[in-house]
C-alpha cells in the first residue's frame, strides 16, 4: 500500500518536473519573441538566426576538439 503511494507520488513529481522543464523552455522562447525589437525586419531575424546556427556549429566543433577520435 505504502509502496503504491510512493510510486504515485514519484510519478506525480516526475510529471511536474517534466512540465516545469518544458514550461521553462516555452517561457524562454516567448521571452525571446517578446523581447525582439518590434522594428526588426525579416532580414534582421534571418541574420540573427544565421548567427545562432554558426555559434551552435562552432560549439559542437569545440566539443569535438576536446574529444578527438570521435
Amino acid at each position: 500500500m505504502a509502496t503504491d503511494a510512493n510510486k504515485s507520488i514519484q510519478t506525480t513529481l516526475d510529471v511536474l518536473n517534466y512540465a516545469d522543464n518544458v514550461l521553462l523552455s516555452i517561457f524562454r522562447i516567448i521571452s525571446a519573441i517578446k523581447d525582439a525589437d518590434p522594428s526588426m525586419t525579416i532580414g534582421d531575424f534571418l541574420e540573427q538566426s544565421n548567427m545562432i546556427y554558426a555559434e551552435n556549429i562552432k560549439e559542437i566543433e569545440e566539443w569535438r576538439k576536446e574529444h578527438p577520435g570521435l
Partner: protein, 150 residues
Amino acid sequence: MKRNFVMSFLILSLVLCMTACSDNDLMKVSKSMAVYGTTLTEVQKNIIAAEKAGFLSVENTGKALEICERANVAGQQIVNVLNAVQKLDPDSRKKILALLVPISDSLDPTKIEFVLAIKDPVLKQKVEGGFILLRTTISSIIVISQVSGG
C-alpha cells in the same frame, strides 16, 4: 506518449499564436527560424552538460551532437532559401519542407537511443523536452509553409 503529444500540441498552439501577430508568412517563418536556433542552442547545452556531468557517454554525446549539427545546417540552408525570396512562393515552400521534414523525423526523442541512455532523470527530461520543443517549432514552420501554400 500521450503526455508528450498533449504537450507538443500546447506548445504548437502557443508558437502559432505568437507568430500569428506578424503580417505575413515570410515574417512568421523568419521569426520561427530564430526560435528554432535558440531552442537548438538549449538542447545542445543540455546534452553537453549531461556529458560533462557523467550522465551521458562521450559516444552518445557525439551521436546527439551530430543530429544537432544536421539540424543547424538545415537551419542555415533554410535561411539561405528565405534570404533569396521576397515572399514565400510555392517553390520556396517546397524547398523549406524538403529540408525540415527529415530533420523533424530525426529529432523524435522517443526514438533516439542516446536520450533514453541519459542516466539523470532531470537532465533526461530537459533534453527530451528540448527535442519536443524543437519538433514543435519545426511543426509550426511546416504548418505555416503548408497552410498558405499554392
